[in-house]
């Protein structure tokens, strides 16, 4: 039977620790050496690449801009030839580390609307993703960006929030956008609370949360230390609480 790719997207307000959680998830997923993991850094700040200790060669937006420039110069190719070229360039932009492939979306710089180019790139990213067992997208705050620039459908949409009212409100807004405005198709949705100082905070938030709480991570000095020193989260100790919590969430979601 053909293997099915599982797709997870992480969203949330800036500064809530989305990228650290994404990196810990990738670390846990990639420990299964029989699996191929595609990590997509959809945040223009390309923080996931730093969190994984990986240098990127080029971003999807570099490829997009090259294509737009060649179109502007009047160079034309058939759709099939263009798709094959994008496929080649995208694989070249993939940074590989063990069984992990990392793709950075980057920041769009060209002005104007190039919906056709975006649509071709999205098709190619989706085709590439089918070759992996798990795809994890570290998204921007806005869930619509995932749909517009990466892919239309994900299996698990995970909101990350700290315990602030602002963070939880943003997560609720994302939920509303995804659910009611159909900004992205998903099969399951949940939230991870990050930087929890006291378990009572979790209980308070959980009672008013319109989303399933998948788990929570305490304020963690080790995460801060890894962030501060720019150390790769792939080296994060397995026995650390944050790592164990993320592993449990992956198991509960039956991602593997």
């Amino acid at each position: 039977m053909d293997k099915k790719t599982k797709t997870i997207a992480l969203c949330g307000k800036g500064g809530v620790g989305k990228t650290s959680v994404s990196a810990l998830m990738i670390k846990n997923l990639a420990q299964r050496k029989d699996l191929k993991v595609l990590a997509i850094d959809a945040d223009p700040a390309v923080g996931l690449c730093t969190a994984l200790g990986v240098q990127i060669k080029k971003t999807v937006d570099d490829i997009r801009n090259d294509l737009i420039n060649s179109i502007k110069k009047g160079e034309s190719q058939s759709k099939a030839a263009t798709l094959n070229m994008l496929d080649y360039e995208l694989f070249d932009a993939l940074t590989e580390y063990d069984n992990i492939g990392l793709l950075a979306i980057g920041r769009p710089e060209s002005e104007g609307c190039f919906c056709k180019v975006n649509s071709l790139l999205k098709d190619i990213i989706q085709d590439l993703a089918k070759n992996f067992d798990v795809v994890l997208i570290d998204g921007e705050a806005g869930v619509e960006q995932i749909n517009r620039r990466v892919m239309k459908t994900v299996d698990h949409l995970i909101m990350i929030s700290d315990t602030s009212a602002k963070g939880v409100n943003v997560a609720n807004t994302i939920k509303h956008l995804a659910q009611d405005n159909k900004a992205v198709d998903y099969k399951s949705m949940g939230m991870i609370l990050n930087r929890v100082r006291d378990e009572s905070e979790v209980l308070n938030i959980k009672n008013n949360l319109p989303i399933q709480l998948l788990g929570w991570l305490p304020e963690d000095d080790l995460i801060r230390e890894f962030d501060f020193h720019g150390r790769s989260f792939l080296d994060f100790p397995d026995e650390a609480r944050a790592c164990k919590t993320v592993k449990q969430i992956i198991q509960d979601l039956q991602i593997l």
Binding site: D2, K3, K36, Q77, A81, M85, Y88, K130, N131
Partner: protein
């Protein structure tokens, strides 16, 4: 001059002049499992890489209606075979020579595009291909598991030939693989440079709405090759009829 006539002759001379490691007959039915549509080979599981973006690479397909120019089923290899290259990244050249029929001014470019798509339809477990026809580049990877199970240029060439022969207008296929050195691949790039220009000329002639032939960078190719002259004439006639 017939399309690619000179290139056929140059490639034949190239094959004769190089120390061909083998010239084998393709298998009638390739005994290789399908990758079930999952054909990404990451460097972690890779045994051999051919024509990566950091290496010299050339890949093209040329066709003729002259049966005598093709040795059907022959797979020529200049350089080491896949199992002898374990752990290496090699320069790569691949030329497909095909005997075809029914290529006329109206259908040649569409048939070329169909033939061009054939390599992407190969679904061999442990074999990954990425290619850009505009630049005549082809980049492939073979997994360690595939090499252990005997993946070779004979397997690849036979599978490729089998795919091409599924087209009812392709009757014979011969393939040349080059892995010996960047210089040998560079020599092949020189030989096939005009193939790329000819295809680009066809693309421009047939995809642009109103190309100006006097200003066109491929003017010289279109003036020299009979098939292109014919295609241009057909296009101009169509345009005149449309304009009344």
């Amino acid at each position: 001059m017939e399309l690619f006539e000179q290139t056929f002759s140059d490639i034949r001379n190239y094959i004769e002049g190089k120390n061909c490691r083998f010239r084998v007959a393709a298998e009638q039915k390739t005994p290789w499992p399908s990758g079930k549509g999952r054909n990404v080979v990451l460097s972690d599981e890779m045994a051999v890489e051919l024509g990566s973006p950091q290496m010299n690479s050339v890949s093209c397909l040329i066709w003729t209606e002259n049966r005598n120019l093709i040795c059907d089923g022959k797979i020529n290899l200049v350089g080491p075979d896949i199992k002898e290259s374990n752990g290496q990244s090699l320069p790569f050249g691949k030329i497909v020579l095909a005997e075809v029929s029914g290529f006329d001014e109206a259908g040649t470019y569409d048939k070329y595009k169909e033939m061009e798509a054939v390599r992407y339809s190969l679904d061999l477990k442990g074999y990954m291909i990425r290619a850009v026809s505009q630049y005549q580049r082809e980049w492939s990877r073979i997994s360690r598991e595939a090499v252990q199970k005997g993946f070779s240029f004979k397997v690849l060439g036979s599978a490729l030939r089998e795919e091409y022969l599924k087209k009812d207008y392709i009757h014979a296929v011969e393939i040349l693989f080059v892995t010996s050195s960047g210089e040998d691949v560079g020599e092949l790039q020189e030989i096939t440079k005009n193939v790329g220009r000819t295809i680009s000329a066809m693309n421009k002639m047939l995809s642009e709405i109103d190309p100006d032939c006097d200003e066109c960078e491929y003017n010289d190719v279109c003036d020299e090759v009979d098939e292109l002259k014919g295609m241009r004439k057909t296009r101009d006639e169509k345009r005149m009829n449309t304009n009344g």
